[in-house]
Amino acid sequence: MLEIKDLHATVGGTEILKGLSLTIEPGEIHAIMGPNGSGKSTLSYVLAGREGYEVTGGRIIYEGEDLTQLNPEERAGKGIFLAFQYPVEIPGVPNSTFLKEAVNAVRRYNGEKELDAIKFMKMLRGKTKELDMSDEMLKRAVNVGFSGGEKKRNEVLQMAVLEPKLAILDETDSGLDIDALKIVADGVNALRSPERSSLVITHYQRLLDYIVPDKVHVLANGKIQRTGGKELAHELEKNGYADFVGEAA
């Protein structure tokens, strides 16, 4: 599914990722944990193709294709989804309009027929029901006036609607209460299938009680410092990241 080899990336001329390697097989859920400033968000932005995040070395192969040549919308079209740490407000654009735009843009990209308004709304209502979200949220402008928890739920809704092949969650759990955390986890777990993969970036072990990862990586100083099973998360929770930061420095 995703193969990252010796990835180097800079932001504003500063190297943040310094030879990161990571392979995710189809159906796997990987967690990346690490201290602040370790390059977690940078990795998610690099994968999504954000401008200003420059790949200076190594490669990212997604389903056999060099990802770095594609712009953000093309990557989205190919099934890469990034749940944002700080979801963005789009005033005046109803959530449902935005979602329909997105779904049909992705369908167009893949040469599929667009959904008409009726089919789309039916699909959307099904998703909100599954996620136990109110339809009222669909009428509101995208993320405008949403609480922190609502914003994250909205990310999960978008993920559910777009059904990505590779979902990247960038600290989606930060600032969430336990109920919201479960919704995020349910969203990820619902997507779990032999064809789909997830990359869960988190600061805390807590989320991983609900999303059980196949592998846990420790990212520090722009590199994967250690890889293990889910027990690694518990170890980190206990001992913190000091060892890894020290190691690299």
Binding site: V88, I90, P91, V93, P94, S96, F98, K100, A105, A117
Partner: protein
Amino acid sequence: MVATAETVDQVQTISGEKYKYGFVTDIESEMAPMGLNEDIVRFISAKKQEPEWLLEYRLKAYRRWLEMPEPKWAKVDFPQIDYQAYHYYAAPKSDDDGPQSLDEVDPKLLETYEKLGIPLREQELLAGVKNVAVDYVFDSVSVATTFKKKLEEVGVIFCPISEALERCPDLVRKYMGSVVPMADNKHACLNAAVFTDGSFVYIPPGVRCPMELSTYFRINEMNTGQFERTLIIADKGSYVSYLEGCTAPMRDENQLHAAVVELIALDDAEIKYSTVQNWYPGDEDGKGGIYNFVTKRGACRGKNSKISWTQVETGSAITWKYPSCILQGDNSVGEFYSIAITNNAQQADTGTKMIHIGKNTTSRIISKGISAGKSDQTYRGLVKISPKAVDARNYTQCDSLLIGDKCGAHTVPYIESRNKGAIVEHEATTSTISEDQLFYLRQRGIPEEAAVALVVNGFCREVLQQLPMEFAVEAQKLVGISLEGSVG
């Protein structure tokens, strides 16, 4: 809600077209000789077989016009207009005898309308969802008027103003120039001297006009100025919604458009006037394009009357336009909803005037300005409360959205309150489309230009919602098209 999404879809399909309406219909025109003098004014009047009083009115206007200075206060920049370089009358020649039915209309003309996407034939109108009567203005002469019969049944008069001069000369004479005085400003004065055609609407007392009335203006002839004049009278307790759409072919020269629109609402009457203006904006370097110098004003003469202006201004090289309301009647309401989009080298100075005279009068101004490229635009508005306007209220909101770092947005609100009890509110914001927003939308698969169109449509939503459905869709499309090339 759904329309927005579908619209952006449509934007997708038409992206790449720069100015869709940039074609020229090749039909022979009967033109007045180039230039302007008293003989030309007489020529126009004679062509239209006008009554003597109107010729006198025109001549008086022409003489006043010669003396008047150009309005200089707007924040727009253009070379001195050579008024002698225009033709002031151009009628399609094949129309000399006046077509009795659509079969007699020049097929090329019909073709033009087809390209514009106007369903001219009544059956097409009937077949579609639209319930719209259209008075087509092709250059200076109205070509065909649809649905006239249905309107006549309820007593509504909707016809070219030249025809109204024959059918109801007293109404025309009584109201023409009563809202926009002949010498209101140099552009309006020029219109008074040389106006060629335009629409006339009269809604009798108590009648709710059964359909949206619409005029499609189109400048076709090279070097033609278009000077249409529209007069709408809503008698007591009546209602009408009027739509005006404008396109013009691509030309290197700057064409002049100086229209006058007058609205009169009597007791308990309501007029809703919507414009989608898409005149040719000129090329990327600012060559060519329409000078859109328009005077639009409505008078709420009667108590409880209401006039609502909604405009979507995306075209023209220069827009100079301030649809206004004179709130004379007690409890009368004036509204101005505006979207102005400027891209490349376009300039727009637009806004409104709300003149509160009657008691308990209310006005509401919502202006959304979007600047892109190296364009420049100004919101200029006046809220004036007279001493007698007890309990007058105004709310004004001006939002500007900047795309790129070479454009400009300016807000110039004037407030003159001579009544201590008046409540006048003004809110203004300036924002940009953020890189965060674009990345967020693109990450969801929405291509960059569609993302911009989506953000801008969201920004304008409050105003777009004011438009009648069939116009809202077109307007949303235009939002996308007019911003093409503004990012990336």
